[in-house]
Amino acid sequence: MNSPLEMLIGGLIRVAQGFIAAAPTLLVGLVIAAILRYYLGRGGTQRLFGGNSWRSLPQSWLVGMLLPVCSIGVLPILIQMRRAGVKPGAMSAFALSAPLFNPLSLLYGLTLSRPLVIILFAVGSLIIVTALGCLWDFLGRKHGLAEPEKEEFGSELIGARRLAATVVQMGRDASGFPLVLSLIALSGLALLAAILPYGAMQHSVERDDPLAPLTMLAVSVPVYATPMLAMSQLGMMFQHANSPGAAFTLLILGTGMNFATLFWFGRQFGWKASALWLSALLMIVLGISYGINEPLVPPGVQPAGHTHAFDIYANPVHSLQQNLWSVAKEAISKQADIASLISLVILAGIGLIGLMLRAFGINDERLLAGSNKTADSSQSRRLDPIVPRGVIGATMLTGLVVLSVVACYAYYPSPEECLDEISLARTECLSAATSGDKEHALFWLPVWEEWSRRLEVGTLLRNGKLRRYQSMQGYLIRKKLELLEHELEHDPYEPKEVRKVVDSIFATNSRWVRSFRY
């Protein structure tokens, strides 16, 4: 069991890692929330999520699939949806589906196993959100859960004043209740790190283990995972032939919700109704997980017997490590990629603005003062018509979706570019491995692995297909890279064994690279 110090340090490391990972999608969530409030308004937001029609559940699911947010980024949006009086069922559908997939993670997922598996997972998520949405709407009618705000807010704001209000809103969110909710969400990771010792999940979700989906169910509820993290874990699960049911559970519960989702629903709609919602969710997920566990086993993959995919949910500190500070520094710096760092800086900036606004008592209502005057004077200018705010809001949201599609091309570059990056990572990794520089090799190994995935998605994106042979060679190279990782982690270092694996990797690499060049 973890010592109290390991629990504390491990928990803090996981919270810090989670916050860094959440930064980009939380930022997107704050932007979307501000757009809903000041551009789409109450009517526009209701229309976006299907209003009172039968379309509200599938439409909310679809909107959720398109917007690039995680289960933390979805929280400020939920607050605005509630304020706009969106139906509880639609909110539930959006809250669960938005973090599951986005264009980046969906493309990634399609190359992980048979594309059918990911498509079935997406269909499974639609079934779940529809069932839960119906339940939630039923509870809403029975107990009067929906209490929409009656008055439209901020419709008088236009131009620079509306932009300022948007910044004020984002600043107040970044330093207010959504920040508290984010910490509640991340507390789940701290709890898991405290309970689970280092590497405790390595043998818990084997394909032939009948308890695997149930185990994952228990672990996934407190988990916070970004869509890309969940997809990469799904990839490792398919690679290791772990339980497909457990993979589905992790995707729906680990990515789709967290402690804060439950807390927020409980606070808004009552704890009893939320407990019912959660119970129904767990039962449906468990039912589907056991239903697909057998049929979706990937053919031809030999179970590896263990996996490191879930090490990230256990305590990062193990009993052999003495210098906890260096462990924490290494774990956090590994998480901090460039996108996360930029997002963190922006978040800190708008959070600081929010704090200053709070200190000076400035809120959006202050900006409303005098806005009528601005509107009146604008109406007199015929060549400078006021564009309806709904049009601007819809354009901004469409732009966000288009931007995330464009981002796919940047994140998954052309095969030629990927192969250049792979060549660099390969040289660094293998030369370090053979010369005994374990740390350097272990730094470049995941870089190589990551680029191998990007190569596949980049090819799929540009050519519309990934050949079976390419896919198989990619599988082989990742399998051998993992063997190399194991050899490098062995204590003491065994040069002959490492050399053997390196030679095997060289041979596979030649075939793998050739399959993408010709």
Binding site: M1, N2, G188, L191, L192, I195, L196, P197, Y198, G199, A200, M201, Q202, S204, L211, L214, T215, L217, A218, V219, V221, P222, F259, L262, F263, G266, W271, A275, L278, S279, P299, G300, Q302, P303, A304, G305, H306, H318, S319, L320, R467, R468, Y469, M472, Q473, Y475, L476, E482, L483, E485, H486, E489, H490, D491, A507, T508, S510, R511, R514, S515
Partner: protein, 144 residues
């Protein structure tokens, strides 16, 4: 919230929160498991399949049937780990895929059709062995 706490507790019980008590020098001491019937190479895959097919029907247990299904499904991976060209690899992959699906549908029962296909797969593997170059074409030196 209480439900979450109970679930986490159950989770901790399920995944286990105890050390095994032994001192470890590395936390990566678990190597990947390799099945005992994993073929050494492509030729060995055909040999292992034929050996299991030739076993008397009375001795053919469920375990043997499962091993046949396993080896059949591993053929694409083992073949891809040789210098066999993509063109030569595709027929093996297709044959293995089709046979795997059939075996799965019959719960690994070796029907006459499955047996015929398994024998055909062995023959295909043996024919493919002649097509494996010692080195990849692009790695060969210029022809003298």
């Amino acid at each position: 919230m209480r439900i979450c706490i109970v679930l986490c507790f159950i989770g901790s019980l399920l995944v286990g929160c105890v050390h095994d008590g032994e001192s470890k020098t590395s936390h990566f001491e678990h190597d990947h498991e390799v099945a005992p019937h994993w073929p050494n190479d492509l030729a060995d895959a055909a040999i292992k399949l034929r050996k299991r097919l030739d076993a008397p029907i009375s001795n053919r247990s469920k375990q043997v049937a499962k091993e046949i299904a396993d080896i059949v499904s591993w053929v694409p991976e083992i073949a891809a780990d040789t210098n066999l060209s993509e063109q030569d690899w595709i027929p093996l992959d297709t044959a293995s895929d089709s046979l795997s699906a059939k075996l799965q549908s019959t719960d690994n029962e070796m029907t006459d059709e499955c047996r015929r296909q398994t024998v055909a797969l062995c023959e295909l593997i043996e024919q493919s062995l002649d097509n494996i170059p010692a080195q990849l074409p692009s790695l060969r030196g210029p022809a003298s």
